[in-house]
């Protein structure tokens, strides 16, 4: 019996996918849930599992080709167990009738959605405790369970591997380091497009062609925030195990600004401007071969500490290539942080269908005229907003920036971290 494998719908509103890599070749044995093919949709690589055990009979769609959801991409010949001589005693395993892996499954296999990966079973927690496995180590353990969940067995295997002689470990590390070092591009050659490069290109082009961008900048006195962070960061690190960066504080300010100016937390449509209920903030993260914008969902429900944890988690997983489709979907506004690279004025391109993107530029000490016409050294930062002029006008944009600026400048010890 043959079963056709179809391009799965790897998330809401995703209509097509690109075959990035076949993990199996025709004639190969495949096990149910084993990785069959890597598919790229809108910036994320998702590994799609085989829907059943059998032999990969035919590949219908070549690598690099984009097809719509539901298109047949491969055929698997189901292996017939020896016991199935009496056909009636062999009801088809339910999965065999599901040619398209359910979205949830597909999403999960794409390196693991955050929820599944972070759901550690009591047995796993006990093993982590027993073997003193650090968070960093844990992030390196590949989860073999549903949704990329780390199972008891995965941890046991890891512990067994860790116990191997140090020499072997060193070798392995070196190999990894070599593998991850990108080859230096040679001038005079054409660098082939990675699927991510192509996805970014398509998105940016679409944005610039369809969205009339407007751009506006506000200058913010970050002195209070800088002082506060200086004071709080050590104890925060000790308490939470992560750095307190400026990003979660800015995101918090953005959330407050969006609450005050909801028209910016919106999308253009021909039927009207869609005002979003949730405030989902995308935070741009640069990775080796491009840029990923993971999303803090319902950022308006998180404290500064919560936002810090969320950004830290997303950035780490983005760099480890462990983001799932839900992690990069549903942003209603984006925050970009080019300032870490020293920029002072950035003109960002809006990620459709959002209505705006805010760039945090570098915080630099400058002489500033303050109250009483005195000149003082203050930590200054430019916040640059690109917005969709179809959705809102300069007045609303300026009101938003003013709200963000006031919130940041009014920052004090009284602002709760939690």
């Amino acid at each position: 019996m043959t079963t056709s494998v179809k391009m799965p719908q790897l998330g809401e509103s995703i209509t097509e996918g690109t075959i990035s890599k076949w993990l199996k070749q025709p004639g190969d044995q495949v096990k149910k849930y084993e990785g069959l093919v890597e598919i790229i949709t809108d910036k994320v690589n998702a590994e799609v599992p085989a829907p059943l055990t059998g032999v990969l009979k035919e590949i219908k769609v070549k690598e690099g080709t984009t097809v719509t959801v539901g298109t047949e991409i491969a055929i698997i010949e189901e292996s017939v167990p020896a016991t199935a001589s009496a056909p009636k005693a062999q009801p088809p395993p339910p999965a065999a009738t599901v040619a398209v892996p359910s979205p949830a499954l597909g999403e999960g296999q794409g390196g693991g959605s955050s929820e599944a990966r972070t759901r550690l079973s009591p047995a796993v927690r006990a093993l982590i405790e027993e073997h003193r496995i650090t968070d960093e180590e844990l992030s390196r353990i590949e989860g073999s369970g549903i949704g990329g969940r780390i199972s008891k067995k995965d941890v046991e295997d890891y512990v067994a591997k860790r116990a191997q002689p140090a020499a072997a470990n060193g070798e392995q590390r070196q190999q990894v380091a070599l593998a991850s070092a990108a080859p230096a591009p040679t001038p005079g050659t054409t660098v082939p497009l990675t699927p991510m490069r192509r996805a970014i290109a398509n998105n940016m082009l679409k944005s610039k062609q369809t969205i009339p961008h407007a751009w506006t900048v506000a200058e913010v006195d970050m002195t209070s925030v800088v002082r506060f962070r200086q004071k709080a960061k050590d104890s925060f690190k000790q308490r939470e195990g992560i750095d307190l960066t400026f990003v979660p504080i800015i995101v918090k300010a953005v959330v407050e600004g969006l609450k005050a100016v909801p028209i910016l937390n919106a999308s253009w449509s021909d039927q009207g401007v869609v005002l979003h209920k949730d405030i989902n903030v995308g935070v741009a993260v640069s990775v080796d071969d491009g840029l990923i914008v993971p999303v803090i969902h319902q950022a308006d429900r998180l404290s500064i500490a919560g936002l810090a944890k969320a950004t830290d988690d997303l950035a780490k997983r983005a760099r480890a290539g462990k983001l799932g489709i839900p992690d990069v979907q549903g942003a209603t506004f984006t925050v970009n942080n080019p300032g870490t690279f020293g920029t002072i004025l950035s003109y960002s391109i809006i990620a459709p269908p959002q209505a705006g993107i805010l760039a945090m530029d570098a915080i630099v000490k400058r002489p500033v005229v303050v109250e009483g016409d005195a000149i003082a050294v203050r930590s200054m930062m430019n916040l640059c907003l690109s917005f969709d002029h179809r959705v809102l006008d300069g007045v609303s944009a300026a009101r938003f920036l003013q709200g963000v600026r006031r919130w940041l400048e009014g920052f004090s010890d009284q602002v709760p971290l939690y």
């Binding site: 016991t83 009801p91 927690r125 008891k152």
Partner: protein, 327 residues
């Protein structure tokens, strides 16, 4: 040691106990000259006579009531209910009298009696000849409930039930009668009530079952092994008093447990097993405890297609077990 079927093991068990102890006798519908509808007592009437193998009226309350009266007077009756489905008319005798007798008399009286009842489906028996009744009776304090799945356990547990000082409901799965064969140790081997048995060692997940489902689970374990999944199979054997230690041990060992029974799910034996695991082995779990049971519908259908749909099968259990293994 000889290979026997379950029904032969039960017959041997009764025979040996009747030979050993003159106070043991059998009462039930057609158990005498006819040898029982399943021939469980075939030959016993000839061997022990009509005073020890008694054909009763078609009245289950009478069968159990007579057994209670005999037991309180020092006999060790085996009361056969022809099909477990017919036990309802005897409910009052079993629950209100037998189960409470020792408690009610502050231990002055015991009822050393066995109620044997062929149960379970998959035999084209339809509504009145296929039911599972274990959860109903396991709920009643004062009753012991056993459900062996192999010939050796069937014989050993029957001996234990006959010798037990309290009422024991002895459930024999009809489908296993002639389907399940196995070595039965020679001699007077008693299988203690309240002790589960690991029928197959494994380390990745545990299947907990009893009765016919034990056979199915062993088959499932074999198929899982072909996929490199090592499944442990725990045979409960006794439903009440349940072997908590064995359940906890296997749950702690594998961290993944699938409980299987043919009885309907709500407030069933699986629910109790799952509660025991959650209360005692939560910290060792690697996945939510799962169960696979018959559906929550009134009775086994007559239509064969529907009967198959109702009955758990190795194929269906395998799907669930794989789901658990993949967690």
């Amino acid at each position: 040691m000889a290979v026997k079927t379950v029904i032969e093991a039960i017959r041997d068990g009764m025979d040996e106990e009747m030979a050993r102890d003159p106070s043991v006798f059998l009462i039930g519908e057609d158990v005498g000259n006819r040898g029982g509808v399943f021939l469980a007592s075939d030959g016993l009437y000839k061997k022990y006579g009509e005073l020890r193998v008694i054909d009763s009226p078609l009245a289950e309350s009478c069968i159990v009531g007579v057994a209670i009266g005999a037991a309180v007077n020092g006999m060790r009756p085996i009361a056969e209910i022809q099909f477990a489905d017919f036990i309802a008319p005897a409910m009052n005798q079993i629950i209100e009298e037998a189960a409470r007798f020792s408690y009610r008399t502050a231990g002055d009286f015991n009822l050393p009696m066995v109620i044997r009842a062929p149960w379970g489906g998959g035999v084209h028996g339809a509504l009145y000849h296929s039911q599972s009744i274990e959860a109903t009776f396991a709920h009643i304090p004062g009753l012991k409930v056993v459900a062996p799945g192999t010939p050796a356990d069937a014989k050993g547990l029957l001996k234990a039930a006959i010798r037990d000082p309290d009422p024991v409901l002895y459930l024999e799965h009809k489908r296993t009668y002639r389907l399940v064969k196995g070595e039965v140790p020679d001699g007077d081997r008693v299988v203690p009530i309240g002790k589960a048995d690991v029928k197959r060692e494994g380390k990745d997940l545990s299947l907990i079952a009893y009765g016919l489902m034990l056979t199915f689970c062993l088959e499932v374990a074999e198929k899982l092994a072909a996929d490199g999944i090592s499944a442990e199979v725990l045979d409960l054997r006794t439903i009440k008093p349940i072997d908590q230690a064995a359940i906890i041990a296997t749950a702690r060992k594998t961290g993944k447990v699938l409980v299987v029974h043919e009885d309907t799910p709500f407030a069933g034996v699986a629910a109790e097993v799952m509660a025991i695991i959650m209360e005692n082995a939560f910290d060792a779990l690697d996945a939510p405890v799962m169960r696979f049971t018959g559906p929550d519908v009134p009775a086994m259908p007559f239509n064969h297609v529907l009967e198959e749909a109702f009955m758990p099968s190795p194929e269906k259990i395998l799907v669930k077990a794989r789901e658990l293994a993949a967690q």
